[in-house]
Amino acid sequence: MLLVLLLLPMCWAVEVKRPRGVSLTNHHFYDESKPFTCLDGSASVPFDQVNDDYCDCKDGSDEPGTAACPNGSFHCTNTGYKPLYISSRWVNDGVCDCCDGTDEYNSGIVCENTCKEKGRKERETLQQMAEVTREGFRLKKILIEDWKRAREEKQKKLTELQAGKKSLEDQVELLRTLKEEAEKPEKEAKDQHRKLWEEQLAASKAQREQELATSAFQELDDDMDGAVSVAELQTHPELDTDGDGALSEGEAQTLLGGDTQTDAASFSDRIWAAIRDKYRSEVLPTDLPSPPAPALTEPREEQPPVPSQPAEEEDEEEEETEEEEGGEEGEEEDSQVPGEQPKETPPPVVPPQTASPTEEDKMPPYDEQTQAFINAAQEARNKFEEAERSLKDVEESIRNLEQEISFDFGPNGEFAYLYSQCYELTTNEYVYRLCPFKLVSQKPKLGGSPTSLGTWGSWAGPDHDKFSAMKYEQGTGCWQGPNRSTTVRLLCGKETVVTSTTEPSRCEYLMELMTPAACPEPPPEPPASGNHDEL
């Protein structure tokens, strides 16, 4: 009904005499010469009961110009602006609802006629809007073309990458085999080398023990009779076994294996092992050095200068998580640091050293043959890993491309250009950041960490206009409340800019993004007359 009215030229409507509150379209129903029939046909009343401030018709049609009927409508002509129906209950209630003021004819208040001014403003706004829509729609068409091209390119690249991936996979398999082959002799040679060295260590240790036993024997053998007696042993109270602080004769005898004395050979064979930990040399004031730790410090392999190798294992464990995050982080970094660069400088390679091993504890360097095997294996490893990394990169690129190509960027892909962008809006307190199809965040202006207001969920406009809003969900949880979420309303504009952010309900944010992609096709240029007259 309203639409029909809008299309009618109304400029001369005021001239037509009709009951108060009746629109021109309904004028013919109100004929002074006949009884009035309610518009719903429910009753018929004498014409002088129209607008007599008493409700006769169930549909309220006999009182279009008074507030008598609870369900009536009052029509304001609003010459110069848009005609309007208001609830007839608002007639003469002291509030100006019609810009021509006709709804307040008997309430004691005077309403200024603001229709001309409103009409002018409305026209201006409409013109501006039309201009914006036209320009925005032009840009939108470009965006659609851009995406078409970009999508084709991406598709092409994807095909290439997929082909390249196959050969890379083959290469990785080949290099893996080569690596494994090279590692076999390496392992054997290294094992051999280690075995030899361990034997050597054991021999020298035995020899040292023998020397210690001998010197202890000599120390104990006070009377130099070539045998250590119970009494001689008793001069070393630290050898006490029952904890009373003194070495009794019985204890000493037990230490000597039940004999009263022992000679050098059986001392070092049987007795020394039992007392060596407690025994305090008379010469050295300090304790005996603890038996040398079998510190198996490997000699440093001559490593080729590949810095990232020590992190190898860790890398593999984290592989999955890293890929999940990879997309986002990668995107952000794209703009900042072009090219491949490790995320963090690798930690300095610390030589695997235990506490200052003596020179003799150190494994001798590999012999030439072994070192050659090692070098060969290392080279095979490096090549394999490099190939594997390339494969991973390619897979990553394929995934990203596939994702982007298959993403729902609107009916014609007009929203695709937003995919790798971020937009910010700074308010009194916060900086809001929208990275379309990814996330929304809020960061205190004066520093502090950002709070997630949601990650991409779905298009969220009403069924007939799905692409008019986006929903971002599962942001940081609110205390005693839901997870934060954001609805982004898309409005037609010439530029892409976040125009407002509000929090209408706690932790439910509303953002408005102007974008040409949201501009509807403008109606064909109207002929010079048309709508304008009506305003």
């Binding site: 008493y54 008598a68 608002w90 002291g94 509030v95 009194n428 205390w479 706690r506």
Partner: protein
């Protein structure tokens, strides 16, 4: 925001935890009274000490332990009221007597003493139909009405009075070498008794005045139904407390209080009503310190036991053994000052109580409309959008509300400059639609020397002081704050002056006030309130007057709003904390309720209890403050709220938006319909408030008030009467398809207000309900004035026409009243600018006559519709003989209303 949020979190976390509040076992004076009373040391009256003064009869009472006698005074007060005061004759220092609650000094009537038997004294009122029989030993008072003992005082011997003592340090010095043989001196016992120091959680209450507690029992003979002593989230009829805790009267900020619990919440009215066939009584215990009330109702099932245990007096023994309710009052401090309201009808008791404490203030008309609140409407733009939402969805509303976030850092009387840069412009927008604004103003004042209100109050010493003598400091919304001492008349006068338009920047005459957190709420204080040994004006400890603090703030606020209009305009002030007499200053609501069906249901008994204790203008937050109501609950709550006196939608900060149009078209329509019903009935509401204002009758009435002779009504609390004409039974169950509505009165006839179907009274009918059904029934014999056209706010409906719903009684008659004035000023009072009309229908004639000839008020309004329910046959013609009914009515149009059967 972060810091504030953390603060909130801790507060809310704590507040839902019941452990931070005391139960009786944690209250020392309760333990002392219980312990001492078990030892039975009875008081006796010294009859040779009786003196008859001009106003009262005085005599001494004494018991073995007391050594020094107490002074008892009995007053006869106009309107069949007795007053009993018991105090120390010469206390070490004066004991607190609650000021400012009684509207004026009650006029006394001389009591005639006629000596009864030898061990007693009889005091009779002038007519001799009411007597006090005072028995000397053991001391007891029987209230006798026409030879029937209706009430006995101290018949259980629970009179308890701790006389002020010299602190132990000083007294120890005087009797250093004396061997104190009393059994109360061991360390544990001292702690247990909490005489000079009482611990609770991490708090220590140091009591400079020592123990000063009082107690007294009242036996109500033949009574099984007692009501009153709000505020508790409990049933309307008071429950027996013998199985658990006593009803506690101690004003506390209990976020999301538990329901069916006797713990003290935001406000206290120490006033209890008792009702039985043929008599209604009231006991008004005028004491503002922490108070406990035990109720013990015994039926007549165990006469032997009861006889032996309780009925010891000579009069009682002669009585037939029957049901009885014992009411035991205990207070931490002050004196015994109790008013006995003798009825005999409910209406008489209401008048007697309001004679003492005043009637309901006449609310400005707008405040009976719908109020839209939320913590918080964010900014001016938000306010504008919500306001427009109501018009867009054609839902009437009158008042927009702003919670604490509208201020600059919770500094009341200021505006957040970023969110509300132009508060006057915002108010002009509301004014253009004849709507109002209510903003919050709490009693805590942020400690900030640059905040003018703080600086001024600090300079003049207007804050409550702490035990050590400095300004009391506690944490509330703004962080560290001091609390204005509203008990001081000077502070109140100053506070009132802050509401002057010239002082309160950005305020206009459409701005009204909401006092919250005035228990007072102190986030880190004991039980979330102020330490009892904080010091008020006149050097009174906070413990003496805790329950009346909020009362005083509302008093000062209302006074401020009156003053800013130079005495012309009626104020609207909502308060959370209240005391006896708060009805004089505005409205009360039930605080932080929860969006659950059980809270919707309990809102009815909670409001009925407030209503019978004088506070007619009361309501519960529609939708429930805490949590998110589902659409069905919200709709049902709007339907219930539309028929409760104070009608406001409110929601806490972390809830989803819930303006009426956010739940789909169908629910929007249902809410719109409910609110419109409210506006349709506005003339009736306004007339009821006038009746509350001048005649002391509650607006919302429990059934027993309207049907005092029908025992079946005494325990009903799922339905109630609105005035004497409408019975309302809100739907409070989810997915209800039918409700059982009890229609009382064997000689009554009731009409469904929508379908006009009718039923004979004294039956329970099953009413089918859809989601759009609000079961409301008009009582035969009543006339209800309505508005036939609903505008967008009450202000827009001033000139809209009226209608009358005439529902005929079984005898074919009906009466009703109608009150009208300008809706906002005091001219109804000072210039008698009002209309008070009476409608009566009999023998087919409706007569509109003047009910109060003093009043005159010109109105353009017409009565355009008269709906007559219950005519025996179709009228053949309708004629009008009065210029007041300006339209020759058409019986055809009002056809559906003219029920012929």
């Amino acid at each position: 925001m972060d810091a504030a949020e953390k603060e909130e979190i801790s507060v809310e976390d704590e507040a839902v935890d019941k452990n931070i509040f005391k139960d009786c076992s944690k209250i020392a004076f309760y333990r002392r009274q219980k312990q001492r009373l078990s030892k039975k040391s009875t008081y006796r009256a010294l009859l040779d000490s009786v003196t008859e003064g001009k106003e009262s009869t005085r005599f001494q009472i004494i018991n073995e332990a007391a050594k020094v006698p107490l002074l008892a005074e009995v007053y006869g007060i106009e309107g069949n009221i007795f007053r009993l005061k018991i105090n120390e004759e010469t206390p070490l220092k004066p004991r607190y007597e609650v000021p400012d609650v009684l509207t004026s000094k009650p006029s006394t009537v001389r009591l005639i003493s006629c000596s009864g038997d030898t061990g007693g004294l009889v005091l009779a009122n002038g007519k001799g139909d009411l007597k006090c029989h005072i028995t000397a030993n053991p001391f007891k008072i029987d209230l006798v009405s026409e030879e029937e003992v209706v009430m006995s005082i101290n018949s259980l011997g629970q009179l308890y009075f701790e006389q002020l003592q010299i602190p132990p340090k000083q007294s120890r010095a005087t009797k250093e070498n004396e061997e104190d043989t009393s059994d109360d001196t061991t360390q544990e016992n001292q702690e247990e008794l909490g005489l000079w120091e009482e611990k609770f959680r991490n708090f220590v209450d140091v009591k400079d005045n020592g123990p000063a507690s009082i107690g007294l029992d009242f036996s109500l003979h033949g009574f099984e139904h007692v009501y009153g002593i709000p505020q508790h989230a409990e049933s309307h009829q008071l429950k027996n407390t013998s199985d658990g805790d006593a009803y506690r009267l101690y004003n506390l900020d209990v976020y999301g209080y538990k329901i069916h619990d006797k713990m003290g919440i935001y406000g206290s009215v120490p006033y209890l009503l008792a009702h039985k066939l043929g008599r209604t009584l009231g006991i008004f215990w005028l004491n503002a310190s922490e108070t406990l009330v035990e109720i013990n109702t015994s039926g007549d099932t165990e006469p032997a036991v009861k006889d032996a245990l309780t009925q010891t007096g000579p009069v009682a023994v002669k009585q037939k053994v029957r049901s009885q309710t014992d009411v035991h009052w205990m207070s931490e401090s002050g004196i015994i000052d109790v008013f006995l309201l003798t009825g005999p009808t409910p209406s008489d008791v209401f008048k007697q109580y309001s004679y003492l404490t005043g009637t309901q203030a006449m609310p400005p008309l707008f405040s009976l409309g719908y109020h839209q609140c939320r913590w918080n409407y964010e900014d001016e733009h938000d306010v504008k959008a919500v306001d427009a939402g109501f018009d867009e969805h054609d839902i009437p509303y009158d008042v927009m509300w702003l919670d604490i976030e509208h201020t600059e850092g919770k500094r009341y009387f200021t505006w957040d400059k970023k969110r509300f840069p132009n508060p006057k412009r915002m108010q002009e927008l509301l004014r253009s639609k004849k709507r109002k604004l209510v903003v919050i103003s709490d009693p805590h004042i942020k400690i900030d020397p640059d905040y003018l209100v703080y600086a001024k109050a600090k300079e003049q010493g207007f804050f409550v002081r702490n035990h050590e003598g400095g300004d009391f400091e506690g944490v509330c919304w703004p962080g560290l704050s001091s609390y204005l001492d509203f008990t001081s008349p000077k502070v109140r006068e100053w506070y009132s002056s802050l509401f002057a338009f010239s002082v309160y920047q950005g305020s206009t005459d459409i701005l009204h006030i909401w006092n919250d957190m005035n228990e007072p709420s102190v986030f880190r204080g004991p039980e979330l309130t102020m330490q009892k040994n904080a010091i008020h004006h006149g050097n009174w400890e906070h413990r003496e007057l805790h329950n009346i603090y909020g009362f005083y703030q509302q008093m000062a606020t209302a006074e401020g709003l009156i003053q800013r209009s130079k005495g012309k305009e009626r104020p609207f002030v909502l308060t959370r904390s209240f005391f006896a007499g708060s009805q004089r200053y505005g409205a009360v609501w039930t605080g932080d309720n929860t969006a659950k069906w059980s809270y919707l249901k309990i809102s009815i008994p909670m409001l009925l209890t407030l209503s019978v204790t004088g506070i007619s203008f009361c309501g519960a937050d529609v939708g429930g403050f805490i949590g998110n109501p589902k659409a069905e609950l919200l709709v049902r709550w709007y339907q219930a709220g539309a028929y409760q006196p104070f009608f406001r939608g409110h929601a806490t900060k972390n809830t989803k938006r819930r303006e009426p149009w956010l739940f789909g078209e169908e629910h929007t329509r249902l809410i719109q319909e409910a609110i419109r019903e409210r506006y349709t009935l506005l003339p009736y509401w306004y007339s009821l408030f006038y009746s509350a204002h001048v005649a002391s009758q509650p607006v919302m009435r429990p059934l027993w008030v309207e049907f005092p002779d029908e025992v079946e009504t005494f325990g009903v609390e799922d339905e109630y009467m609105l005035g004497s004409a409408l019975l309302v039974h809100p739907v409070t169950e989810p997915k209800a398809t039918v409700v059982d509505v009890f229609l009382p009165g064997s000689s009554e006839v009731w009409y469904d207000s929508k379908t006009f179907a009718h039923w004979e009274g004294a039956c329970t009918v099953k009413i089918p309900v859809a989601l759009d059904t609000i079961p409301v029934f008009q009582r035969g014999g009543s006339v209800v004035p309505i508005k036939t056209t609903i505008g967008r706010s009450t202000g827009c409906m001033t000139d809209s026409p009226y209608g009358l719903w005439v529902a005929l009684s079984t005898k074919g008659s009906a009466v009703g009243e109608f009150y009208l004035d300008d809706g906002h000023s005091f001219q109804y009072l000072h210039q008698k600018q009002f209309l008070h009309r009476k409608f009566s229908f009999a023998s087919g004639v409706l007569i509109n006559s003047c009910a109060d000839k003093r009043g005159h008020y010109p109105s353009k309004c017409v009565v355009e519709q008269i709906l007559v329910l219950g005519l025996k046959k179709q009228p053949s013609s309708v004629t009008s003989h009065s210029p007041g009914l300006n339209h020759p009515a058409d019986p055809g149009y009002s056809g559906p209303g003219v029920v012929s059967s």
